[in-house]
């Protein structure tokens, strides 16, 4: 390897290997100051935050609310419609929860959530997809707010990346009494392109009133819409992953960097 002569180094996107300046006559630009990112961990975490940066398994607070988890390792070249969804926590990708859903199975994890009257819940995620032959809902990952116990018929959700046949989009929707209502959707992107959105946020500003946002890497945010008719009492918060295809090269992998909660009515990162 061509090594770095510095004791300390800041990569261009925030990666940091600690140490002091090189102190010698080397390249004066070799060491620098860390850039801040909207994805940085907050100075004061909320009790509901999950950074997926500890250990190699899900914290005990999480329960599997839909689907099941397999002990088999993620393999981007494995196509499988049985055997349950595969996960990796803080291992395959450091400080991320990675999921390779079983095709046809929704894997949803959730935990108890006793929110304030006003709050924002948000996550950063990623997904893989294919240039060709994408089918409806090839891959989906999203944030869920629902009742306790977990109720698929009464929930609010926003999906970072959702694929219909040949299109990619971000969608904010509610399900009340089993009736699905789309609140907002971003522009469709072709299957052989990729959305710039990396994060999603749901904000509660008043009773029954929730707003959805999609977030880019630099903090640009797209307002996806508002609902004022979501009446269920939120008691659980969760993350959902879906894959609908076993086509080559295999079931697509999605990932969650973190889930965070901020109390108050005006937060946007």
């Amino acid at each position: 390897m061509s090594g770095c002569g510095c004791d300390g180094f800041v990569d261009s996107d925030g990666g940091f290997v600690g140490g002091a300046d090189d102190g010698g006559g080397g390249n004066p630009n070799c060491c620098g100051t860390l850039a801040m990112s909207i994805w940085d961990t907050p100075a004061t975490p909320n009790a509901n935050d999950e950074e997926f940066d500890t250990g190699s398994s899900l914290a005990a607070a999480w329960a599997t609310s839909e689907g099941a988890i397999s002990a088999t390792a993620i393999d981007p070249y494995a196509g499988f419609a049985a055997g349950d969804s595969r996960i990796s926590v803080n291992t395959r990708r450091a400080s991320w929860y990675m999921v390779q859903p079983q095709s046809g199975q929704t894997l949803a994890i959730s935990k108890l959530f006793v929110p304030s009257a006003t709050y924002a819940a948000w996550f950063r995620g990623s997904f893989s997809h294919r240039t060709t032959a994408a089918i409806n809902n090839d891959q989906t990952l999203g944030l869920i707010l629902t009742e306790n116990p977990y109720d698929t018929a009464d929930r609010l959700e926003i999906f970072l990346n959702e694929s219909d046949a040949a299109v990619i989009q971000v969608e904010f929707q509610q399900v009340v009494g089993g009736v699905v209502t789309s609140i907002g959707t971003t522009a469709n992107k072709a299957a052989n392109d990729q959305t710039v959105f990396e994060g999603c946020l749901i904000q509660r500003t008043a009773a029954n009133t929730y707003h959805g946002w999609a977030l880019t890497n630099n903090g640009s945010a797209l307002f996806v819409g508002t609902t004022t008719t979501f009446t269920p009492t939120i008691g659980r918060i969760g993350l959902k992953a879906i894959c609908a295809s076993v086509a080559a090269p295999g079931n697509m992998i999605v990932g969650f960097d973190f889930l965070r909660v901020v109390d108050g009515a005006v937060f946007l990162p």
């Binding site: 770095c4 961990t41 993620i74 997809h129 294919r130 240039t131 072709a190």
Partner: protein
Amino acid sequence: MTSPARSIWDRPSVAHQYDDEFCGCSIALDPTWSAVEGSFTIATPIDPYAAFAAGDSRLNLSTRRMSWLMIQPIGTAPAPATNSATLTLVKTIAPPANFAVWARFSYNHRFSTATSNNDFTIGIVLSADPYDKDNRICVFLNESDVGVIQIEFLKAVGGVLTSIGVTTNLGINDHTIFEGVLIQCFGATDTYHAWAITNNGSMIYLGSTTFATTIETMGFWIADSVTTAPGNMIVGVDFIRFVEGTTFLP
């Protein structure tokens, strides 16, 4: 005080011998690299407003942009469509049967309808030793044909180019969000897969192909066919990394 977010671009805790982070405190390119197509100079600085079709491609290591190898290629034919390059830098490797090679790139381009074919191209290339442009497999983070920007996975066998996968075309006044590319090899079947990677680790699968040439060199394939205003476009390489095994994706 917050903690910095982890990034897929962060350096691995254990580097591979074939990795290059381009973060040396020297301005010289590591001697394992050699130019097998074209030539380069470090003495003449990169200038985004310099248009030149003679001389050498200009390199800057870790000073113009910290821990990046920046390249301002000479603006000249032949372009990639003719199966050659402005500058190809490779190093010799002896890979195991299964491996992945990936890199992070950047590029500049111009907002103009007058862009020529292959205004700029930068990608990973794998080939034999000595490097053989007629027998190689490569994936390009940014490639421009007239009025479009795309990422392409292709191979050359006996000089015949075959396109394996291409991302959607973007208008010249837009910009792809893909920053990285990856080629994964399954040696038992001579099968190669390629992916394009975004900042958050989202990926698009570009396809797979078989390629029988024994891989002995890896490097970068860089092309520039235009010298129009404001000047030859600059491309950059943050790193190239090598991972052994069959399931790696960042």
